[in-house]
């Protein structure tokens, strides 16, 4: 089958850098949440961008904290 035909059939080969795939999930969550909550749709892109950054920053902070915890406590 051609690569396009197998797109939704065969699993993809994902490299070890798959952590970057958290970005589309965060953006998707921000879009849906702000779409149902925002008062004006004109402000939606700005609010989505801000919320996405907040979520990603929060995840990065959590990852840093967990890394530090493992690095300095686990022997």
């Amino acid at each position: 089958m051609t690569p396009l035909a197998t797109l939704f059939v065969d699993p993809m080969e994902i490299s070890s850098r798959s952590l970057w795939m958290v970005i589309p999930v965060c953006i998707g969550v921000a879009v849906v949440y702000k779409t149902i909550r925002t008062r004006s749709l004109r402000r939606l892109p700005l609010e989505v961008a801000l919320l996405s950054l907040y979520i990603l920053a929060g995840i990065a902070a959590l990852m840093t904290a967990l890394w530090a915890l493992l690095r300095f406590t686990y022997k």
């Binding site: 699993p11 998707g28 779409t35 149902i36």
Partner: protein
């Protein structure tokens, strides 16, 4: 000028049902078409991205029937399946796709073992029959797993994890949209909220 938001009577259950069947349809029903389109596109993009990463078996292949898996909490990864089905027709279509592909995997297998007794075993003979059935079923499952591995369609980490997260999160987001549509319908709200006027903003600050 009136400060109350626009109202119109809508049926909350219908808003919820439409919102489950087609992501965003609940919001369309309560008069918010622009938001409905955004929700539909985003949830579909998330879900099908997950299926693209994980393949056709992203939506939980299983030898058990769908109602068994819905009701049996100990079924492996059942919660991911329940999350995926929250996308409504999308999840059901994806499930049917995997069922048809799984049928090809099962084609090489012997007939499924049948449970010889109904209900719990009542005596020693029935207990032995039940034990034999369980052994045959386990052997059948192992052979099905081997066939699945040979087909190169089986989910493996990390693609499987990413696929579950994308499709499961899409389902959970649709659940949030359903709640929103139902609540707005129960409150009698219809259409887009009125934009905040400068006078209202000044009054709110006082």
């Amino acid at each position: 000028m009136a400060k109350t938001p626009p109202t119109k009577k809508t049926i909350a259950a219908l808003a919820g049902l439409l919102g489950w069947l087609i992501p965003g349809a609940g919001h369309w029903y309560i008069g918010r078409p622009a938001r409905a389109i955004i929700l539909f596109v985003t949830i579909q993009a998330l879900f099908w991205s997950g299926v693209a990463v994980g393949g056709v078996f992203t939506v939980q292949p299983s030898l058990q029937s769908w109602w068994w898996r819905a009701l049996n909490p100990r079924e492996e990864d059942a919660w991911w399946w329940r999350a995926q089905v929250c996308t409504g027709l999308t999840g059901i279509i994806a499930y049917q796709r995997q069922a048809s592909w799984y049928a090809r995997v099962e084609a090489d297998l012997p007939p499924q073992p049948r449970n010889p007794i109904s209900g719990p075993p009542r005596d020693q003979a029935e207990a032995q029959q039940w034990q034999q059935y369980r052994t045959e079923w386990q052997r059948y499952q192992e052979q099905a797993d081997a066939n699945l591995a040979k087909s190169h369609l089986a989910l493996t980490s990390p693609a499987g994890d990413i696929a579950y997260i994308f499709s499961g999160v899409a389902g959970m987001l649709n659940l949030m949209c359903i709640f929103d549509a139902v609540l707005l319908s129960l409150m009698g709200r219809y259409g887009e909220p009125r934009p905040e006027m400068p006078e209202e903003r000044r009054e709110a600050q006082v």
